[in-house]
Symmetry: C2
Subunit: 353 residues, 2 copies
Amino acid sequence: MRVEDLDTPVLTVDLDALEENLDRYQDYYTQHGIGLRPHIKTHKTLAIAHMQMRRGAIGLTCQKLGEAEVMAWGGLGQDLLVPYNILGKQKLDRLVALATQARITVAADSDVTVAGLAAAVKGAGVTVGVIVDVDLGGGRTGVQSPQEAVALGRRIHDAEGLELRGIMAFPTPPAVRGGIQATLAALDKAGLPHPIVSGGSTKSALQAHEIPELTEYRAGEYPVGGAGHLREGRHTVAQCALRVVATVVSRPNDGRAILDCGSKTLSASLVQFDDGPCAGYIVEYPEARLHGFSEEHGHVDVSRCARKPHIGERVQVLPVHPCPCVNEHNELVAIRRGNVEAVWPIYARGKIR
Amino acid sequence: MRVEDLDTPVLTVDLDALEENLDRYQDYYTQHGIGLRPHIKTHKTLAIAHMQMRRGAIGLTCQKLGEAEVMAWGGLGQDLLVPYNILGKQKLDRLVALATQARITVAADSDVTVAGLAAAVKGAGVTVGVIVDVDLGGGRTGVQSPQEAVALGRRIHDAEGLELRGIMAFPTPPAVRGGIQATLAALDKAGLPHPIVSGGSTKSALQAHEIPELTEYRAGEYPVGGAGHLREGRHTVAQCALRVVATVVSRPNDGRAILDCGSKTLSASLVQFDDGPCAGYIVEYPEARLHGFSEEHGHVDVSRCARKPHIGERVQVLPVHPCPCVNEHNELVAIRRGNVEAVWPIYARGKIR
């Protein structure tokens, strides 16, 4: 079957591009002696996670427990990191169960989280690793100072069934090195172990070596790229493996084309670039601007295109943010040189708990 | 089971609020003699569609063929409108099959679409209704003038197996009345029938009577409201039936709270209000600002809250755009006065084709 035989809109991944990205990034981390722990939130797909592990990844990152459960039953539970505060009886029960199936590390940034983890594992006969989430300017979760990191690290270290495994931060551009060093120095002074020093974000993934303290790195989008990575020069068009194949369903006037993919296909991600809002990049029409969407329509300004698309024509759209885009879909169609090689279920889709 | 027993994040609908909205809007349309044709893209759920039909809806609107197929097998194929250009052999084959199961009307705004429809139904022994999509300033799909509407209407009218059923526009605030009148006058002059004159959008749903030419109205969000409708006074907090129950998972500092719902729970919809970006409204903390998200984190500024949420506390979030929010979820939990009355599968989720 050819890609042209697929009805649209359809989520596809180009296997040549995917494999090249996987090799390139794995080579970088191998070369620099940093563990690559791919973030499966981007693709949520067992097949790609297996490809990542086979290339030398040290384990996987999952943002929610439900994603980790899928990876575990999918044969990928060797070493899972869930960089998230796990709270509440239902999730803690699931975490203890998962720890019997997989090696698991979670993150914590509060006494409340650590107390819950400690109570859940007590007497359960399992070990759960914990890393301290440190806020180095990302402005999301994380303790706010080396002193807080030490205090929380000690609680983890002292809790039966929990194992202090180090620290994490998000994101980790080179500029945060000082914060990492300060945190590690404080932990060292307190005699607390930190075998894991985990950085993250594809944006600075190839600068990880500029923070030699990092032992491992969480990157999600590197296998597939996207319109943002293209714009910022991290991926070429050819390296942007994730593509929504869409059809032009309307050409109301000379300057406007409407695609059959909107926010329920691409996700509602709309990025403000210098030249206006962008919902994706159209491979066949680089001058076109996919500047907005309705739920099932992509709104394209084609006024700057010399040749203009006709109704019924198919185009490939690089989503502006691959992760939520993938999460709209049940299946990912793997393509090589135009041939459909596989249809992969996106089993971790919708695993928000 | 109580709502407090559900793990978070979880998508819920308050049944008292839902039913009140359904009654209120149906009463309005009944009173004004306009047919209400609810748009199921918002809830994608058979149970709610049945509630809408039982209250007197004349039929349902589905934005994609796949949604219409779900409604047909769900016992709701009495009168389905798909206001979309259906193109390509695969969808046309499905449309013909669906027309044996349901009364179906689609929209068209080009000769290409009409030619495809005509070829598909020819000799198939089915009738497909077609309405002309008219662009009255919405800037999406639709013919650009009454003259184009007449030309396309005539092609539909003359095609064997197609039945010209009128016109549609989106959106249809009172200001577009002149455009509708001009289009209808042109059709009348050409002797073309227009039993359906279809308006749409919840924003102007209760102004439909200001365009007396409308025979029916497509509204999607009215059953559930949302943060945008709340802000603009169309729904009160109590009338906003769709609520994501979330847990505070981190309180990194005094001004920041992080929820366990991000763009994969609420959708990536971020609306720019006067006072900044908004991803949702937190019922228990009206002064809080849910100003952004990561995929699994909601980023909340609680600096203006007198009382501040603690880690582990649960809150209800009104999404800023209910339709893509629902599309992130597999199930919708129906709640009445805190009791779980049903768990509804969102069968039309992900039906992008």
